[in-house]
Every structure is written in C-alpha cells, then in structure tokens.
Symmetry: C2
Subunit: 217 residues, 2 copies
DNA sequence: CGGGGGCTTGAGGCCACTCAACGATAGTGG
DNA sequence: CCACTATCGTTGAGTGGCCTCAAGCCCCCG
C-alpha cells in the first residue's frame, strides 16, 4: 500500500474502502536515528526530501550499509515484527510514515495492496542480489565505478548529481575504506572520466559513462 | 502458493478453488543447469532431494553464489519475467515445479497465496541482507565460521552434516578463494572446533558451536 | 578567525590471493 | 579387480591489492 505512494491512483483506491490510513510527516536532522536494528517495526517510511542510510553493525563497530534511500524510496518495510537494519538520516530529511498495523489491516483483504508490498520487497531483493556480487567479487575500482553509475541513475538532474553521503558512508556501502574510495575517485578524475563541481568534492559530473560502465563490469 | 508446499493445508486451500496447478517433478544430474540468468522465468521450483546453487557471473568468469537451495527450499521465484540468477544442480537433484503463469492466475484472486509469495521473498531478502554484511565486512575466518553454522542449522541430522557442495562452491559463496577456505577449515580443525568424518572432508561435525558462534561475530 | 571534522595523500604492512606442486579420491575402462 | 586418470582438496612460497597509520589540507561553521 505504501508502494502506492508513488502511484497515487492505486493508493487512493487502497485507502478508501476501509480504514483511513494514519499518515504523518516527520523530520529528522542530519545523523539522527530513525529506527534501530531489532526494534519493533511499527512504521513504514517514505523519503520526502533528503536521504537515509540503512546499515548493520558488527560488535566491534564494523559497519555495512545495505542501501541508501533517496527521495521517493520506501524503507523500513520488513514484513516482520522487527527492523533488520538501523536507519539514519544522512542529511536533514523529511519522511512520511504509516503505521504498519493499519497497513496490515488493509493488506488482509486487498490483493492489490499485498502485491504492492511484494513489488517493493522484490526490488529490494534485486538490489541486494546485485550488491552481493559487487561485495563478493568486484575490485575497488569496479565498486566505485558501479556506485557512481547507480547514483547517476538515481539522482542526476541537469547533467550532474550532488552526493548527500560522506566518503565514509560510500566506503561502508562498498565494503572498502575511506582512503581507498578517495584514491579510486581520484584515479577516475585523473583519467577524465568524472569531474568535481564543488570544492567539497560532493558534486560530480560523469564525463564518460561508457568507459565507467566498462570499468564497473 | 509455492511456499505452501511446506504447509500442505494452506496449499490445498489455495489450489482447490480455481485452476488446478500444473505440478511436475523433474530430475537434474550433477552440474546440470536448471535455468540461466536472464532466461524467461516460466517456472518456480522446490528442491525434493539434492541441492542447488544460484549464482551470477562477471564477464571474466568471476562467480558469486547468492544462495544454496537445500531440500524443501523454493527457488527461481523472481516475481518478474526473467531469472536473475543461473541455477545448477550441485548433485543429482529432484525438484518439483509449477508454471509461473498458473501461479499468477491464482495469485490474482487469493490474498493468502500472494502473502505466501511475499513471505518467501522476504526470507530471501533477509538472507541476502545478512550475506551482504558477511561479504562486505567479515574476515575469512568469520565467513567460514558463519558458513559452517548456517549449514549446521540447515542440514544437521544425527550430530553431523554432509556438505553437498565443493570447496570452490563454498569459496564462491563466501567471496574467497578455494585455498583460503581450506586453510580456515584446517585452522578450525586444528583448534578442535570441528571434525571431519569422511576421507573427502565433506562430512563435518561441529564440536564447539559456542566458540564457532563467537568467531563468526 | 579559530577549531573541528571531512577529505586527501603518502608510506608501510598484512591478509587474502596467485601460482605451483603434491596427495587423495572417485570414476573409468581394460 | 586393478591400473589409470581427471578432478578435488591440501599445503607452501611469494605477491599484491587494499588496509592501517599518519600527517596535512580544506571547508564549513560557529
């Protein structure tokens, strides 16, 4: 039913017949936790503005970011009682959220709603599958190239994109260190494959997507 | 609906009302391909006996196994037109399969069936999420320890388990090389944490699950 | 304008990989 | 039944890609 937020028609259809879905907007400041791993999954979220990271921690602090959630993305949908990730706002972020309970209630009777849940879950699964290949078998350069192409696809407007996340976030997403991410970016910059538009190196323009695609395998 | 195969009641309920599901059994010899990546996903499968690996390949032959499917497991359920993995029989394997089409037909009207699809997809997603953490952030020893615990959980009977897959399969599952897997296994063997029961080192008994759990983080 | 955190760059180290050789195993055909 | 062989598994030596540690730079923001 949440998936329907990106398909207004279907959403209306789902929301009308029975319970009216409790539907609120909420704001989180930079680096604020939205929910924690193993906490009860009482709400499902959608990014209105900003960006969110979902990650798991090992006991000694090693972190693996499983996904970045950008504007329009749904996150926190676990189909289970508890969250399997911790979610934090990367920058000041607005989300809208609905109670899982009310969603379950609707889902009980509406096939279309459950199908939406299935579609969201399936695309999360597909992303995770692709990311396993990246983490298990790709080199540092290939990972960074793949990351740039993903961000390009998801947030380029007007020929460039502004990364909301830090180098540390990128590293923890790609299974690398900050230093390695830096070096590979620099490497690509030297080859004229990408350009930096801002002093803080977060605004990036891809100058040769073809070559990048080739590098990402 | 396929999930229901492990819950006979629900399956019967789902199957009765409308179309009778086309339902066949099939055999694959060791190392035979069951379906290929990007091929049309016309069937969904469940392992009756044997074991299956699902993997992705890079153009230069690097392979990442995303999951092993053991007796009872459902695989090939993509909720999409094409398969996202190649699936091969690890040993001689029997599967039963249903046409995706007929499943879709039933799913159109039956919430319970779609819920089953959602549940299967969700548990696949959870596995993939855990595996991303392993591939991105765990050491070789931690990966092997985690692998042993997973196999122990999934196929131990009578105090030990017999791995159907080769060292190469294990390596490609864990994002390591064959040699590293070997070395870490022997490392654990030397410490008295596990024992080999067969000459080919495929039958394993875990002697200290506690210590193993600690090593796997 | 001063402090702090993010980013970059270099030097050196280590974990896992590569390459190579050998042993063991199981499958094959005589 | 047994040699023969291909494949799998093990082990060692050496390498290299990425990590660690460290220092300096540059923003950004108070």
């Amino acid at each position: 039913m949440f998936a329907s937020l990106s398909r207004p028609d279907s959403f209306a259809k789902a929301a009308v017949p029975r319970t009216r879905v409790a539907f609120s907007e909420f704001r989180y400041r930079k680096d604020r936790e939205i929910f924690g791993e193993n906490e009860p999954a009482d709400y499902v979220y959608q990014v209105t503005t900003g960006a969110v990271r979902s990650y798991k921690l090992l006991s000694d602090g090693r972190r693996q970011i499983g996904a970045f959630h950008l504007v329009g993305d749904v996150f926190g949908l676990e189909n289970a009682a508890v969250h399997r990730f911790t979610a934090e706002a990367i920058v000041d972020t607005r989300v809208c959220l609905v109670k899982r309970e009310s969603m379950e209630l609707i889902a009980e009777n509406d096939v279309l709603v459950v199908r939406d849940l299935l579609n969201v879950t399936t695309s999360n699964l597909q992303h995770a599958e692709d990311h396993m290949l990246l983490l298990g078998r790709k080199t540092a350069l290939e990972r960074v190239a793949a990351f740039l192409l993903e961000m390009d696809r998801r947030l380029t407007q007007a020929g460039f994109f502004a990364l909301p996340m830090s180098r540390r976030d990128i590293a923890d997403y790609l299974g690398l260190t900050v230093e390695t991410v830096c070096r590979e970016l620099h490497h690509l910059h030297d080859q004229g494959i990408l350009g930096f538009l801002s002093p803080n190196q977060r605004q990036i323009v891809l100058l040769d997507r073809e070559k990048l695609a080739h590098l990402s395998l």
